[in-house]
Amino acid sequence: MSTLLEIQSRFAAGVFQGSDGILSDLEDDGRQAARFEVYRNNTHASILEVLADAFPTIRTLLGEGLFTRLVTAFIRHAPSRANHLLDYGAELPDFIALSEPLADRPWLVDIARLDWARNAAYGAGEAAPMGADALQGLAADVLLALRPALVPSATLLHSDWPIHAIWMNADAMAESSIAPRSEAVLVARPAMQVQTSLLHPAEHALLRTLQDGGTLGEAAVAAQQTDPGFDLMTAFAGHLSAGNFTHRRNEETEEE
């Protein structure tokens, strides 16, 4: 009689590696191999569904067949280590980056990061948004010394590829070859909807500096260096009213 440890180890190896040592642990009724196959398929189908929900653009770009092959390889390489699959897939972009068969579609890596950012933003934690009223009447030097943070759901992405355009038109782009063109995107869920916004390069420089902990003054300089004609105030006010900023934690302590 096998121990539970042996049975569960062989069962998992049968599902993930396709080994058949588990079959001798099952009741010999002539159907055990077919019945075990039901379990193997259930695991693969359910994980495929989880990743298809998390990476809808990658699935569209690759098509059903290739996406399934990618997921099968990924499950083998990076099986879930948690009791649930809510966070499963975070490593898929890096896995795609190392995938030899997908090397001729280098934009897929950043598209996978975009899909994952949207997936993570939906259930991300929340923080009180910084309102425009918090900034009213501040002296210029005080204002420029502020360090607003992006809300916890926010991810900034910058790519050598037109990731926003590909994400918007994935159906049409599945078969086409794509020319390199740099694009930056902010994914955030300031309220109940996940927002995916195309950013002007200077706007990206502004938000990136703030995300890295810089002051509003430093962020303004970074934006101006990227594009001296950029309308900084309008962009900043837009993100402020969208609810994309929150107070940095140490600032709150200082105010108290």
């Binding site: 539970l4 180890s9 993930f16 642990d25 099952l26 077919a34 948690a82 009791n83 934690g125």
Partner: protein
Amino acid sequence: MKGTNTSLPPTAGFGLRHPHVLDVISRPPAIDWVEVHTENYMVPGGPRLRQLDAIRERFDLSFHGVGLSLGSVDEPDREHLTRIRDLVRRYRPAALSDHIAWVRAPAQVGGASLNDLLPLPCTEEAVNVLARNIGIFQDATGCQVMVENPSMYAAFAGAELDHADFVKETVRRAGCGLLLDVNNIHVSAHNLGFDAADYLARMPFDAVGEIHLAGHAERADAGGTLLIDDHGSQVRDSVWTLYDQAIAATGAVPTLVEWDTEIPELEVLLAEVRTAQSRLDALPTGAGTAS
């Protein structure tokens, strides 16, 4: 909930899944309670938690877990238990449950999730592992929990107990409640070749705090039919018959209709709930008290 495995009302409810959430919030159906999968709400923030807040204002909740892996040779994951406890504190569910099953590979071989409720061998070792892990689950949450009898496609060699005794012994040794899934009994009995009515008759009815009903699918299998527990259709007549036998023994018990694949319009699901409720209503006064 402490001290008893459920404070759900003894009426019929349904498993609330994502496609129906906004409908149920905007036009609450005339039922007392709904059940959700605990793991679906293990997120730091966002719409899911807000929606569950709104659901909780109107309905009693049953938290039904699918991820604790109580049948794993390892002890339950502490972080997972903490997340369950945090949800219990926030939403104060009337019932808390998981399955007689395992989900994760042993830590010794990597601990990967197989994302499925997997069968256990009917051995003393497995009963002891379950009793230990259910005890840890109850201690961590401060609740008496329920465990659901399994649905199975294959059985292990070397059984030391039969399938019904395995469930009964687990519940007895763990000191927990039983979430009696009558569809699982029908599916497992067909697939493994045991008698469903006999299995049901040997369940510990005093421990039953909730009953599950669901549909299943049929698939051609070597030399017969395999029943797949897909929760993707209406409850079959054979399962309603088992349900009538169950409630004749338990009396009116909170009863849940589950529908997880090919999810229909809410109205279809509510019709199933009404069928279950009419069977509860038809019970003679005092049914089950003799058991």
